[in-house]
């Protein structure tokens, strides 16, 4: 393998990984606080992408930079997240983990098929969002897109960490998964905390959608599920519930995928899934996670 191929793959891997990381942030946040895998999270990326598809041309016509449409996407995604939570997840919360999981699955199917009915099965292409130059590095070209994606990822991660550690809502968000009943007794409005968590998580999906569409402009109604699963793998690898873990996991999964693709192009997906299985069997709390036992 030549050096330039190595660097090129490294860049591709980092780019892919940063996108996974952004998606994984949403998963890890929701799981860390509500202890629920939101199967539908990947589909919020899809919602964000469709929103961008429709609003970017409007932005361009209005003479504004296309990436500003992400703010609208954030609002729409966050709003949808809250609606989904209130309508479908809340009634099922007390019924147990299995019910929650199935409801999330059903919601994912619902959103995907609703999108298909509303927007049709034909893939759409989002217009070019960033017109950034490429820089020559180590003999290959490094698109500034990649740097931007990674930068946004780190920024989001840092912002979330600050929010969780310093604000009152953040403290509440840390208390709820530790002991829900105690949180209620301490005066925390658990329902509000959960709603806010979903809003933030889904809003993050919109940002991830922005960076995803910058690299892969193709938008379909089922883009969410497989990508969501891979990002979930990233979150678990890094440590589900641990925010820096999403970043770490995302980058790792991205790099592994790209490099395996070089050597065994037909099998690279299987490797990603194999990683998930191994991690869950060996260290389910992930690289940065902590173990919790069960009381008998």
């Amino acid at each position: 393998m030549t050096f330039s191929l190595f660097i090129q793959s490294l860049i591709n891997g980092l780019n892919q990984g940063a996108i996974y990381a952004l998606i994984a942030l949403g998963y890890t946040m929701v799981y860390g606080i509500i202890r629920m895998i939101n199967f539908a999270h990947g589909d919020f990326i899809m919602i964000g992408s469709y929103t961008l598809f429709y609003t970017i041309p409007l932005m361009i016509n209005a003479g504004m930079p296309p990436w500003l449409s992400v703010f609208l996407a954030i609002v729409i995604c966050a709003g949808t997240g809250v609606v989904v939570e209130v309508v479908a997840y809340k009634p099922v919360r007390k019924a147990g983990a299995m019910s929650a999981l199935i409801t999330a699955l059903a919601m994912s199917l619902f959103l995907e098929n609703l999108a298909m009915v509303l927007f049709g099965a034909k893939p759409r292409n989002v217009q070019k969002i960033f017109d950034l130059p490429s820089v020559r590095v180590f003999g290959t070209s490094l698109p500034m897109n990649v740097v931007l994606t990674i930068g946004i990822g780190i920024f989001m991660m840092a912002a979330l960490q600050l929010f969780i550690k310093k604000t009152r809502m953040g403290k509440a968000m840390r208390a709820v998964p530790q002991d829900r009943d105690a949180s209620i007794l301490a005066g925390i409005n658990v329902n509000k905390v959960i709603t806010v968590t979903f809003a933030i998580g889904s809003g993050l999906a919109a940002v991830a959608a922005l960076m995803y569409c910058a690299k892969y402009p193709r938008v379909t109604n089922d883009m969410g599920s497989m990508m969501g699963l891979k990002a979930f793998i990233a979150a678990v690898l890094g440590g589900i519930g641990v925010i820096p873990g999403a970043m770490l996991g995302g980058i790792l999964v991205g790099l592994i995928e790209i490099f395996v693709k070089l050597f065994a192009p037909g099998w690279y997906e299987a490797i990603t899934y194999a990683i998930l299985i191994i991690i869950l069997l060996v260290k389910p709390s992930g690289i940065l996670g902590k173990n919790a036992g069960e009381k008998v």
Binding site: P91, A106, L229, L280
Partner: protein, 344 residues
């Protein structure tokens, strides 16, 4: 006690035979005219879907665990049986024998896969188990995309159309009967105990891992048989037929029908598999409707429409007989109002 149960088996068999004869009457009398072959096809679809959904219910209802990768076992059964029937064709075997051997091969291949997947996967529970089953199913799909014998990612076609409805009906009945007998034996009892409380089960001397893997394998076996029928009905297939979407569809059917109710699985699968055909013009709304129904069921009746209620021909006959006796006894004693569970 034993005699009573054996009589109930005979009654149930007669019931199944009765339904079969009804179908024969409907089809042979040409009452559907030109659509007869088409409707027979729908019924065959219902047969293999019933087997797949009932087998998944063994895992979800009986064992209380999630499998979102059931389509993986179906695909192993489908491909294995197709390869076997392709290899044995032209050797002078009668069609029925060929079909049964192929299905058995499919089931065994899927069962072996079930053991291989079950041993690592069943160490996990809940959310994590669900995700791991998806991962395994995807790995299986990637494998089939890379093997040339299964078409190398493209359609594998030319499979013999061996799935005749009359055979499939009895195969389906046999499979469901075996699953029912499995549940109503030491195996089902033990697995249900594990579902209720695995720590207590362990403390009662039960090897939890062994029973979980066993039940998982049995479920995989029947999924494979269902897959075999699928392959020999569709005569062509591609690995993406057996993707996560299909697993999700099977799981929805289990849940909507009723977690732990074989009756629910039968009716749910029969109804939901024939629905797309009957609603041909609404096909794009099918999965949308599924998901809405699923959400509604989860909110209002989390155990599924039938819960874990089982239809029992014997119980109906029994109730009719009891009503006569009750009038003579003069009412039911209050203590007896606690629900009594029936024995096998």
């Amino acid at each position: 006690m034993e005699r009573r149960v054996k009589i109930s088996y005979v009654i149930n068999f007669l019931g199944v035979l009765g339904v079969f004869l009804l179908f024969v009457l409907l089809f042979e009398s040409r009452i559907f005219g030109a659509a007869t072959q088409y409707i027979k096809g729908i019924c065959t679809t219902a047969c293999y879907t019933i087997i797949m959904v009932a087998s998944l219910n063994l895992v979800v209802g009986c064992m209380g665990e999630f499998s979102l990768g059931h389509a993986g076992f179906v695909s192993v059964g489908a491909y294995a049986s197709a390869i076997v029937s392709g290899a044995l064709t032209g050797k002078g075997l009668p069609d029925l024998a060929l079909f049964l051997i192929a299905l058995l091969a499919g089931g065994i291949a899927a069962g072996i896969t079930g053991v291989l997947v079950g041993i690592p996967a069943l160490r996990l529970r809940g959310d994590y188990l669900a995700i791991v089953t998806v991962a395994f199913a995807e790995i299986i799909r990637v494998c089939f995309c890379n093997f040339s014998i299964t078409g190398g990612g493209k359609t594998m076609s030319g499979i013999l159309k061996l799935s005749d409805f009359y055979w499939c009906y009895w195969i389906m009945a046999a499979c469901v009967a075996v699953m029912y007998l499995y549940i109503r034996s030491r195996f089902g009892r033990t697995v249900m105990a594990i579902r209720e409380d695995y720590i207590a089960a362990s403390a009662s001397g039960i090897n939890v891992t062994y029973y979980k893997v066993l039940t998982f394998t049995v479920a995989a076996f029947f999924a494979g048989v269902g897959g075999g029928i699928y392959a020999h009905y569709m005569t062509a297939m591609i690995p993406t037929n057996f993707n996560f979407m299909y697993s999700a569809e099977l799981l929805s059917e289990v849940i909507i029908g009723g977690i732990g109710s074989l009756t629910g699985s039968i009716i749910g699968a029969a109804f939901l598999s024939s629905l797309p055909e009957m609603m041909r013009q609404f096909s794009q709304y099918r999965m949308l409707a599924y998901s809405v129904v699923l959400i509604i069921v989860m909110i209002f009746k989390p155990g599924g429409i039938f819960g874990n209620w089982e239809f029992s021909l014997v119980r109906i006959l029994h109730r009719a007989k009891k009503k006569g006796h009750e009038k003579a006894e003069g009412g039911v004693q209050p203590w007896k109002q606690l629900e009594r569970k029936s024995r096998y």
